[in-house]
C-alpha cells in the first residue's frame, strides 16, 4: 500500500505530461483530431496543471514525512 502511495503521484505526473504533449501536438496538427473542442482543451489544460501540482505536493509531503524520523 505504501509503495502504491508513493507510485501513484509519479504515475499521475507522467500521464498528465502525456496529455500535455497531446495538447501541444493538437496545436501543431489538429487534423489528427487529438482533442477537438476548445472548451475541453482549456479544461484539460487546467486539469494538467492542477494534477501535476497536486502530485508534486504529495511527493514533497511524502519525502518530508520520511525525513522526519531520521532527524529525531
Amino acid at each position: 500500500m505504501k509503495k502504491l502511495e508513493e507510485f501513484i503521484p509519479h504515475l499521475s505526473i507522467c500521464l498528465l505530461l502525456c496529455l500535455a504533449v497531446f495538447m501541444v501536438l493538437d496545436g501543431y496538427n489538429p487534423y489528427m483530431k487529438w482533442l477537438t473542442s476548445t472548451v475541453s482543451k482549456v479544461y484539460i489544460a487546467i486539469c494538467c496543471v492542477v494534477g501535476i501540482t497536486t502530485a508534486i505536493l504529495l511527493i514533497v509531503r511524502q519525502r518530508r514525512r520520511k525525513k522526519k524520523p531520521r532527524q529525531e
Binding site: 505526473i13 507522467c14 502525456c18 487534423y31
Partner: protein, 374 residues
C-alpha cells in the same frame, strides 16, 4: 567504559551498515524528475507504437471500411445520347394555312454538354507537349510561375477542361481505401492511368468525417473541419465547418468530398476573412489546392516550398489570394508540406520537398475507356 565503547561502536557500525541502504532508497529531486520524464517518454513511445507504428505495419490486414454507392440513378444508367430518329413523313392533309407561323424556339444549350461548351479547348487528336495535353475529352495546360513576394515561391497552375466529370477522378493508394495505406504518388498516378495528378487530403489517416470518392460514400460524420464537395453536375462548393449539414450535402448528390481544408474563398470568390486552420497549418508551407471556375473547368495548384533559394512556400492567406487572382469562384486547400506533388505523364512536374513522400490518395485527370463510360 568498555561496555559504552562497544555500544558506541556497535551503533556506528549499525549506522554505517544502514547508511548505504538509506542512500539507495532516497533519490534526489533531480533523479525523481528524470525518472518521471523517462516514464513519460516510455508511455508516449508505447502509445505511438500501438496507435501509429503497428497499425501502419499491419495496414494490409486491416479490413477496408464499408462503402456504399451514392451515384445518382441517372449516372448509373446513363447511355450515350442518341440522335433523335427521323419521324416518318406522313401525308398531310391540306389545311388552311396559318396566318403567322410560330417561330421554332432555339434549343437551349445543355449545361452538362461540356464537350460542346469547351469545344475550342479540345482537339480531335491527342496532342501532348512537355506542359500540356489535349484530346477530344481533356485539355490540360500547366504553367510555372514565381511569386513576387518577399520570399519568392515557385508554383504550378494546371488549367483543366474536361468533357465529362468521369475524366476527373480520385484514386486510393493500393486501389482501395484502407487506413494508413500510402503509396508513391508516381506509382499511384501510373496505376490510375492519370495524365495529371496531385496529392489528396490525407484521408487515409482518419476514420471520421464526411468522405465521398468517385460516388462511393465511406463516412458520413460532421467534423470541425471545412469540406469541399464536387457534385455530379460539375459544380464544386466549399463549406466552412459550421456551414453545412451532412444530409443536405449528400442530398445534392456529391461525386467527391474532401475533408482537409481550409476553404479558401468566400461566395464572392475573394479570400475568406479568416481561415479554419491553426498556426502551423496556416504558416508558410509547400501547398496543394484545387480551384473551380465553372462546371467542367477546374485547376490544380501546387506551391513548392521549404527550399531556400528556389521556393519558400506560401501562407494560407497568400494561397487563397492566388486562387482569387486566377479567377476561381471556389478553392480548397489539400494536404501540403512534403506531400505536395504534381505529376504529369508519369513523372513529377513540380520539385517536391525532400522528393515528396507516400500519399494516401490522389486527384487525377484521365481518359475514360469506352467500357467505363456510362
Amino acid at each position: 567504559m568498555e561496555e559504552n565503547k562497544t555500544r558506541q561502536e556497535l551503533r556506528e557500525e549499525q549506522l554505517q551498515s544502514q547508511a548505504p541502504r538509506r542512500r539507495r532508497k532516497r533519490k534526489s529531486v533531480g533523479e525523481l524528475v528524470l525518472q518521471d520524464l523517462l516514464m513519460t517518454a516510455i508511455i508516449l513511445l508505447s502509445f505511438a507504437l500501438v496507435h501509429h507504428v503497428i497499425p501502419r505495419m499491419m495496414k494490409n490486414s486491416i479490413e477496408p471500411p464499408e462503402s456504399r454507392s451514392i451515384r445518382p440513378a441517372a449516372v448509373e444508367t446513363a447511355a450515350p445520347e442518341t440522335p433523335a430518329l427521323p419521324t416518318e413523313e406522313l401525308p398531310v392533309e391540306p389545311t388552311e394555312p396559318e396566318a403567322t407561323p410560330e417561330p421554332t424556339p432555339e434549343p437551349t444549350p445543355d449545361p452538362m454538354d461540356w464537350r460542346t461548351k469547351f469545344a475550342d479547348r479540345f482537339t480531335d487528336e491527342v496532342v501532348v507537349t512537355d506542359h500540356s495535353y489535349t484530346s477530344p475529352n481533356i485539355a490540360i495546360d500547366i504553367q510555372k510561375y514565381v511569386s513576387d513576394d518577399e520570399a519568392p515561391s515557385t508554383y504550378f497552375v494546371a488549367d483543366i477542361y474536361v468533357a465529362s466529370l468521369e475524366n476527373f477522378q480520385t484514386y486510393w493508394a493500393g486501389g482501395s481505401f484502407r487506413k494508413w495505406m500510402e503509396e508513391d504518388p508516381i506509382q499511384c498516378a501510373k496505376n490510375a492511368g492519370a495524365i495529371l495528378a496531385i496529392n489528396g487530403d490525407y484521408a487515409d489517416s482518419q476514420d471520421f468525417g464526411l468522405l465521398v470518392r468517385n460516388g462511393e460514400l465511406y463516412m458520413e460524420e460532421q467534423t470541425i473541419y471545412d469540406i469541399c464537395a464536387l457534385y455530379y453536375d460539375g459544380t464544386m462548393v466549399t463549406y466552412g465547418a459550421d456551414e453545412y449539414k451532412v444530409e443536405d450535402v449528400l442530398a445534392r448528390e456529391p461525386y467527391q468530398i474532401w475533408k482537409f481544408g481550409p476553404a479558401l474563398l468566400d461566395e464572392k470568390g475573394q479570400p475568406r476573412s479568416s481561415f479554419n486552420a491553426t498556426g502551423p497549418i496556416s504558416d508558410v508551407n509547400p501547398r496543394t489546392g484545387i480551384g473551380y471556375y465553372e462546371p467542367g473547368h477546374y485547376c490544380f495548384v501546387v506551391v513548392d516550398g521549404r527550399q531556400g533559394g528556389y521556393s519558400a512556400g506560401m501562407r494560407i492567406g497568400r494561397f487563397a489570394q492566388l486562387f482569387a487572382d486566377l479567377g476561381c469562384t471556389a478553392a480548397y486547400n489539400l494536404d501540403g508540406g512534403r506531400s505536395s506533388v504534381m505529376t504529369f505523364q508519369g513523372s513529377f512536374f513540380n520539385q517536391p520537398y525532400l522528393n515528396g513522400r507516400n500519399v494516401g490518395d490522389i486527384l487525377l485527370i484521365r481518359e475514360i475507356d469506352e467500357s467505363e463510360e456510362g
